[in-house]
């Protein structure tokens, strides 16, 4: 595999996301596969952020530590990130923003000083086009010519008019030319043979796209990082796709609005994070009791409390599984990458409607904000299963919302669609939906609801495997560690250790298939992004089982293959 890692560092508001976005689109256009992740602070201007892109000649699913090209928009990028640059790597910095010490430091490496904003201004363009200068400069290390970069700029700025497009192209060319001039020809990363059309998306794009593909009609949400991207995506495309996205006054209103909409018969969702997720617990429990489908995206960030709002963690797993006073059926899905995010999101709506229950989709900041190249999504793979729904005639006037059935699923009637009345309640109720006090009905109604949980479990998504079947070592994880685990497994296999990766796209209820895997003779490690080992605990509670070891991270940063492999016990790694 050929790889190239570009890291763009600077302050919030300096344009590093623009530079990154230009580059990742142009690079995809040019044919590379890529993975790009973002690291930013909970502030709007200043601080120290970075945007890191890994290009490769085949699909990649995670990030690497060693940097080939560092773009420094500020001094901190030099002082903090320089040590990550590989021997022979290139540093492109803006000399206008570096103090003398940092400049000296930068100059020790293979470095180029380009005054991005000044160059733009000297070319008669606004300062802000310094971003395109930087993009052009990096592009010189990637490509022979400017075609794809110019095309990307044209596409990205098309709504700003031709002058802006041309300005950007002009300054990008200048940046390109300067680097070419200073560094001459350098080896370029290999490209895949037949790349074909692809999408380049973040988790926060794929999740709402999955929802749209599944026919979501109503969303309500209250902004909270890192889930806000999902909300804004649905807002942006709502008019065209005929979806209402109503900003709520708080998360409690958000989920209750969605429940109200869902009750009438539309697919409805909300998205949130951390504290907002906690505030939704009571309503989730209402959805469980009243058997109203609802999909909740929870994009995890490090807790407890406000924690680190813009960082990543997998610390809400225990909570997502446990979030109710009292028992009711549910499912918790945990997509591991952008492609899975799309299809699982659609699946979540099917589960919610087939079992008339809440479904939680666990994302996290790392999945939400990281771009990956993926094959175009296949809408024909998105089957829409709306569960047991009866028409007005079928239902008749004697319709019972909570009719006792063999599988615990009572056919839904949409209110107003027939003579039957649809009575739903969160209080304990009888088949009609009216309130009860007696022990017998209570017990039957609990058993009816929990019968559905059994079905959900029987149909749980099986683990996704990679690596060696006859493994001596197994890495088990869920959610956004999928790519890191896959690459760790590859790394281990390449070192002669037969390793297998087990990714759990469904964490609750856990699939039966996992038990079989746990019985394999391999040494098993659980890899997860939290302090207490929440996945480990979940598996232990279900299968009365303990792993041979665990690899955890809880400093707010994502894992990658190196992080995992470095933490395997010595005997394993060098054995």
């Amino acid at each position: 595999m050929q790889n190239l890692n570009i890291k763009i560092g600077g302050q919030a508001g300096q344009g590093l996301v623009s530079i990154g976005t230009i580059l990742l689109r142009a690079a995809t256009q040019e044919g590379w596969y890529l993975f790009a992740h973002q690291d930013y602070e909970s502030r709007i201007r200043g601080g120290h952020n970075f945007f890191q892109i890994r290009l490769a000649d085949r699909p990649v699913a995670s990030w690497e530590n060693d940097i080939d090209v560092l773009v420094a928009l500020d001094e901190a990028t030099i002082t903090r990130e320089l040590e990550e640059v590989k021997p022979g790597g290139v540093v492109i910095y803006d000399p206008d923003v570096l103090g003398p010490d940092a400049q000296k430091l930068a100059e020790q490496s293979n470095s180029i000083g380009l005054p991005f904003a000044r160059m733009a201004e000297e070319l008669g363009q606004p300062k802000i086009m310094g971003n395109a200068v930087a993009a052009g400069a990096v592009w010189a290390l990637l490509s022979e010519d400017l075609t794809e970069l110019h095309e990307t700029l044209a596409l990205m700025f098309s709504d700003k008019g031709p002058a802006i497009v041309q300005g950007n192209q002009q300054v990008a060319s200048a940046g390109f030319a300067r680097v070419r001039e200073l560094l001459g020809e350098r080896p370029r990363p290999g490209k895949p043979a037949n790349p074909g059309p692809r999408l380049v998306l973040r988790g926060n794009d794929a999740l709402p796209l999955g929802a749209l593909a599944a026919g979501v009609k109503f969303m309500s949400a209250y902004p909270m990082t890192p889930s806000t991207g999902v909300t804004e995506f649905i807002s942006e495309h709502g008019r065209r796709a005929k979806v209402i996205m109503e900003q709520a006054e708080d998360e409690i209103a958000a989920i209750n609005m969605a429940i109200g909409a869902s009750y009438t018969g539309v697919r409805a969702m909300t998205a949130t994070s951390g504290g907002g997720f906690a505030l939704m617990t009571e309503a989730l429990s209402l959805a469980g009791s009243a058997e109203i489908p609802i999909v909740v995206v929870n994009a995890m960030r490090p807790g407890p409390s406000t924690g680190l709002p813009t960082r990543t963690e997998q610390g809400d797993l225990r909570y997502a599984v446990a979030m109710s006073f009292g028992d009711f059926p549910r499912a918790v899905l945990a997509p591991g990458d952008v492609e899975e995010a799309f299809y699982l999101m659609a699946h979540a709506f099917n589960l919610a409607e087939e079992y008339q229950m809440p479904v939680v989709v666990l994302s996290d900041q790392h999945l939400a904000d990281s771009y990956t190249t993926v094959p175009p999504f296949d809408l024909s793979r998105v089957e829409i299963k709306r569960g047991k729904v009866v028409s007005g005639e079928e239902a008749g006037p004697d319709y019972l919302r909570y009719r006792f059935t063999a599988d615990g699923i009572s056919p839904r009637l949409y209110p107003g669609f027939g003579q039957g009345l649809v009575v739903a309640a969160g209080d304990e109720h009888d088949e009609h939906g009216h309130l009860i006090e007696d022990a017998e009905t209570r017990q039957k109604m609990m058993e009816k609801r929990m019968a559905k949980q059994k079905l959900v479990e029987e149909n749980a998504l099986e683990p996704v495997l990679c690596g060696a079947e006859d493994a001596e070592l197994m890495l088990i994880g869920f959610g956004s560690t999928k790519g890191a685990i896959a690459e760790a497994v590859e790394m281990l296999n390449s070192r002669g250790i037969r390793a297998q990766g087990v990714h759990l796209p469904q964490v609750f209820p856990l699939p039966q298939g996992l038990e079989v895997l746990l019985q394999k003779p391999a040494r098993k490690f659980i890899v997860e992004g939290n302090y207490t080992g929440q996945l480990e605990e979940l598996i232990a509670s279900r299968f009365a089982w303990k792993p041979d070891g665990s690899i955890r991270r809880y400093d707010g940063r994502p894992m990658n293959a190196k992080y995992i492999v470095d933490r395997l016990p010595g005997g394993v790694c060098h054995g």
Partner: protein, 287 residues
Amino acid sequence: MANSGFVVCKETAWCPGCGNFGIVRALAKALDGLGLQPNEVLYVSGIGQAGKLPHYISGNVLNTLHGRTLPTATGAKLANGDLTVIAVGGDGDGYAEGGNHFLHAIRRNVNITYIVHDNQVFGLTKGQASPRSDRGMVTGTTPLGVYNEPFNPLATAITLNASFVARSYAGDQEHLARTIQAAIQHEGFALIDVLQPCVTFNKINTYQYFRERVYDLDQEEGYDRTDRQAAWARSWEWGDRIPIGIFYQIQRPTLDQHYADILIKPLVRQELDKSVVEEILDEFRIG
């Protein structure tokens, strides 16, 4: 309960003599009078004695959580505007636990009717103070007497520019039924705060108390219900005379009008158009 006429249940969990009976009867009368069918109506309620009302009258029911009446009703109305949505709950439900939703549902001007059973007390939990309790009222949680400034839902709603703000009285079913009809016919958010004697826990604001005090603003010569400032001022009258009637009514755009582009028909009757999703996906396609 079948779909012909609005039947009021005989079996309820309410205390004999409770003001809630007057409300459910007036509601049935109002709905019958409007020629609606039970399956066209959706009651959304929270938790409390008031919140049980939907179970005692024919119609569709969504009985949710304490305090969450309004967002749930808003979602339901946005998803199926064909339904006549009536939100109903207690003063604790609406003004204590649900206070935030009260503010913001009014700002949205969603086209629903909101009936608050205002018994000035938490009934179901056995008589604690509500935001509507009179100063000095001694309850299980206020042994020193209620201290807080009583919440004035009418003044607050008028301040938030609610498009329909009324008060009625459970002891006057005619007035209440008439007010409910006007509220349902109003395009936009309609609040009816209903004075509702709680015969068990509220020994201050009784039938007699109200009988001696209420007068009908609708009959008041020269009262202009589109005059916001006058309405706000009138809403403070609470003493020897207590006005009932429509305090304030205006026309302003409703939330579904804001979403008119999307709501070409009710959301629940719109099929998924996969080609639009393809179109959006295509915008992300590269190469």
